[in-house]
């Protein structure tokens, strides 16, 4: 892009076109003014024109050969996040418990209407929840919520291939993911809370395949909803526990309900995620 380096052969204006110029032309790495000169040269040199065309074609073929790798599910062994120092883990576990009880308090208050939840999603739920809402430390993520955060960080910046199947094929998307997860899925419609479905993809998870649905709002802020099988332990409370955690800049609101784990991730703040999670929970038959 910026051939300013002393040992990069920067061409002089009007100088004969060299082979390096032809590569720079194909790779988009010439100074802007040089393109016209190279094109004039190519117009009268069929052999160089053929070379350039072949290089371009091979570059394009390399993409076709290799780009499928970009869309493969990632092997779970890859360390996508910075390993946590061991000391921090014990501390984080304590915080997670604190956040968990805040989540239980949030649940206890029952469903709130949307306007109220947007204004103060947690604060109405009692002292424990208020503490959590006022900047108490946030739980470090583990298990499926951490995977959800990693999957969000990976796919939400993607411009060209954010999803495998787009919202325009929603029924196909639902049928496909239902089949792979082995249970009929519903895709929550979130237009009512300001988010439109982008589409979804299938990912590998701890306990089998996982579905990720992506949504965006009018300013193209993306949220992802991650759905995984998460068999409840025998004797576990029948009511889901709602939790909030963070990994880097990704906030995650997550819960387990009827053998499924749900995680809503985004860079939106806790209040916004709570508002949307409320709607997801409502639609998926939680309340």
């Amino acid at each position: 892009m910026t051939p300013m380096d002393p040992d990069l052969p920067t061409p002089d204006a009007g100088s004969p076109v060299s082979e390096a110029d032809l590569h720079g032309y194909v790779d988009g790495q010439l100074p802007a003014w040089r393109y016209d000169e190279v094109e004039r040269h190519l117009a009268s040199h069929a052999d160089d024109r053929a070379r350039v065309e072949t290089w371009r074609r091979h570059t394009e073929m390399l993409h076709r050969l290799l780009d499928p790798v970009l869309h493969e599910p990632l092997p779970p062994r890859l360390p996508l996040r910075r390993p946590a120092p061991p000391l921090w883990r014990g501390l984080a576990a304590g915080i997670a418990i604190a956040v968990l009880s805040a989540g239980a308090a949030w649940l206890a208050r029952g469903a709130v209407d949307r306007a109220e939840s947007a204004a103060s999603p947690v604060a109405t739920a009692g002292p424990a929840a208020s503490a959590a809402a006022q900047g108490a430390p946030v739980g470090e993520l583990a298990g499926f919520a951490l995977r959800a955060a990693a999957a969000h960080a990976l796919y939400s910046p993607e411009q060209r291939h954010p999803v495998e199947v787009g919202a325009d094929e929603e029924s196909h998307l639902v049928a496909w993911l239902s089949k792979r997860l082995g249970t009929p899925l519903k895709v929550p419609g979130l237009k009512g809370v300001g988010y439109e479905l982008v589409g979804g993809r299938l990912l590998p998870g701890d306990t089998g395949p996982v579905a990720q649905f992506m949504y965006h709002d009018a300013s193209n802020q993306r949220l992802t909803l991650y759905l995984t099988r998460q068999p409840s332990a025998p004797g576990q409370a029948t009511q889901p526990a709602f939790r909030f955690g963070r990994d880097g800049r990704v906030n995650v609101f997550y819960w387990i309900d009827k053998d499924f784990g749900y995680a809503l991730s985004g860079s939106a703040d806790r209040q916004e995620l709570t508002r949307v999670a409320n709607e997801v929970y409502r639609q998926l038959g939680g309340s």
Binding site: D7, L78, P79, L80, H152
Partner: protein, 169 residues
């Protein structure tokens, strides 16, 4: 995007590192070993990186060094059997033959040429970024690129390719 916290700065690069590693190592398992080692080393040195900028050439540079180390340590290099497994999903069936040839030709390039060809053509890095990633002068990048492209051209296009004509329908 706003997802740039220290913990997720590397994640968006992983699919690209895997793509590059696949073409470098020629098969999925070796490639993912290479990606795993690269990430582990990158995390170990992450605080050093934060002072250096240019995360892309840094990450691909780590992978380059690890790959070269690996080749040195297994000089009975398995280059011959590389490449069988490269494309797991290939676009249209009509493409397949051409891409197989390309894949074979790619694996026959020297490591140095293959690296530069991929970093330029697939990763779309600037010549200067590549020079810094693999630690050679830009002139060397250019000459490797030139040799790699000419070799592909000789292998793929100087052969008669009647099949290509027939498939146009």
């Amino acid at each position: 995007m706003s997802l740039r916290g220290p913990t997720d700065d590397l994640a968006p690069w992983v699919p690209r590192l895997r793509r590059y590693a696949r073409a470098l190592a020629g098969n999925r398992d070796d490639a993912d070993d290479l990606v795993q080692d690269t990430l582990e080393r990158a995390w170990g040195r992450f605080s050093m990186w934060q002072r250096r900028g240019a995360i892309r050439s840094w990450m691909f540079g780590i992978m380059h060094n690890l790959y070269i180390d690996r080749l040195r340590s297994q000089r009975n290099s398995p280059e011959e059997d590389a490449g069988e497994e490269l494309p797991e999903a290939v676009a249209a069936p009509a493409d397949r033959l051409g891409l197989r040839d390309l894949e074979r030709a790619l694996q026959r390039l020297s490591t140095e040429q293959r690296e530069v060809l991929l970093l330029v053509g697939v990763e779309e890095m600037s010549y200067r970024e590549i020079a810094s990633a693999i630690g050679v002068p830009i002139g060397t990048v250019m000459s490797r690129l030139s040799r790699a492209r000419e070799r592909l051209r000789a292998e793929l296009d100087d052969r008669p390719a009647p099949a290509k004509m027939q498939r146009v329908k």
